[in-house]
Amino acid sequence: MSLKLDYVLRETASNFRRNITLTLATIITVTISLTLLGAALLFGDAVDNATVRWKDGVEFIVFTDPEISPELEADIRRQLEDSPEVSGFTYIDKDEAYAEVQDLLGDSPELVEVITPERLPASFRVKPSDTLPERVDELAAAFRAQPGVARVVTASETIRAIEDLSSGLRQRVIIIAIVLLVAAAVLILNTIRMALFSRRRDIEVMKLVGAANWFIRVPFMFEGLVQGLIGGVIAIPLIWLTNNFFSVINDDVTLELLRGFTVDPSRVWSLGFQMVGLGAIVGTVGSGIAVTRFLDT
């Protein structure tokens, strides 16, 4: 006694047809909640990427002239070492900078190609002892005036804004996405219950002639699985779109940010598949619960 695939497929197809509006509503809810959740996670990744250089208390970065002489560079280094207001710094040479760019843009080889280590500036990532924005700005201004310094970028200008924005926004989007996901699960549950209601005669007969509970349950769980899968699959291109939206942001911001505010396409793909998987789980579990409640008489 085996559960035949054609039986399950036939039952699922007929359930879909009978409850087309509810099915669509469920799929759309799954899609929206998965897209939001995916976008929120993606956004978090983008922020992490954008702010990678600003970790561990780095407040400003001194970019040296690409053609700086070793003496001038040693001068800057000495200044940083001597300054009481600098608690520490890291030197990123051209090769390290290039490695980082490769890391961040690894999936856009055409961009990496145009960049060579020689064209990238070396930099000092500076941790000031006093992180008050005004004090950091003063310190940064002092270095900006140094000969051999191409420019100084402070965290306070862009990164603080992004980090502030992201921590709040990311949390909120994730909360909304989770609420929507629960709503989707409840909707799936409801759809299945409606399907069960419209087929209560069938189920009554199935119980009477001795169909095993799982035999009754599997077609409905399969229906939930399909709904979740479809919702998840539709969410993938939508998540891609949100990623493109990040790229638009990139165009607006300074060159330095271009290095950060992108997400690896492979990451987008894996996230997409995770969302499909999540949709499948939510769909299957939701319908499983719905049927179980119906069967437990």
Partner: protein, 225 residues
């Protein structure tokens, strides 16, 4: 085949459906359950396939205490008990042959078995010519024959019939009774709840009379009253 020991069933704590009922039915017997509405006939039947659980007492089917049956085994109990109802309980969107095949399909019977068993049983109930009709294209008697075919296609040990002739005219009822009698002669135990005096009097089988949840009469080759 069936044994009830001091069974009491109370609905919602107040409606007494069966009160200390004890009864034994042998393999191959044909038993009429008679009594006014609400006397506990349907409850008697529903206890047998574990649609209801007794509040007190024990119910044995084929020598097994079904109260001790784990819930996942209940479907296997029901495969041994065919059920026929007054309102037929056919699926309106399935043809005659699909309705009967459905009963085998959902217990996982192989397709080859379904292909051989379904036409044979429809032949038995005399509906071979209407195999591909839908239930609403059939008369009440024909619908009941389909429902009997569905209940019997799996060759259950017991056939429960809850007022199977309740919606049918006397002549059609007679045809249904002939069919049930034939099924009984194959060795299947038949328990039939009915209000139909003429049928009971004509068949002269064992009669168990219920009144307000108590068995007030148990008579072999009995009459309605």
């Amino acid at each position: 085949m069936i044994r009830m020991e001091n069974v009491t069933k109370v609905y919602k704590g107040e409606v007494l459906a069966l009160q200390n009922a004890s009864c034994e039915v042998q393999r191959g017997e044909f038993v009429f359950l008679v009594g006014p509405s609400g006397s506990g006939k349907s409850t008697f039947m529903r206890l047998l396939n574990k649609e209801e659980k007794p509040d007190r007492g024990r119910v044995f089917v084929a020598g097994r205490d079904i109260g001790k049956l784990p819930s996942w085994k209940v479907p296997f109990l029901r495969r041994n008990i065919g059920c026929v109802f007054q309102d037929f309980k056919l699926l309106p969107n399935k043809t005659v042959v699909q309705n009967v095949a459905f009963a085998l399909e959902v217990i996982g019977s192989p397709r080859s078995v379904i292909k051989s068993k379904v036409p044979a049983i429809l032949e038995l109930v005399g509906l071979s010519k209407k195999m591909h009709n839908y239930p609403d294209e059939l008369s009440g008697g024909e619908q009941q024959r389909v429902s009997i075919a569905r209940a019997f296609v799996n060759r259950p040990l017991i056939l429960l019939a809850d007022e199977p002739t309740g919606n049918l005219d006397p002549n059609t009822s007679l045809g249904i009774m002939t069919l049930l009698d034939r099924i009984n002669r194959t060795g299947t135990t038949v328990v039939m709840a009915t209000h139909d005096r003429s049928i009971v009097d004509k068949m002269r089988r064992r009669v168990v009379e219920l009144d307000r949840g108590q068995i007030v009469r148990d008579q072999s080759r009995g009459v309605y009253e």
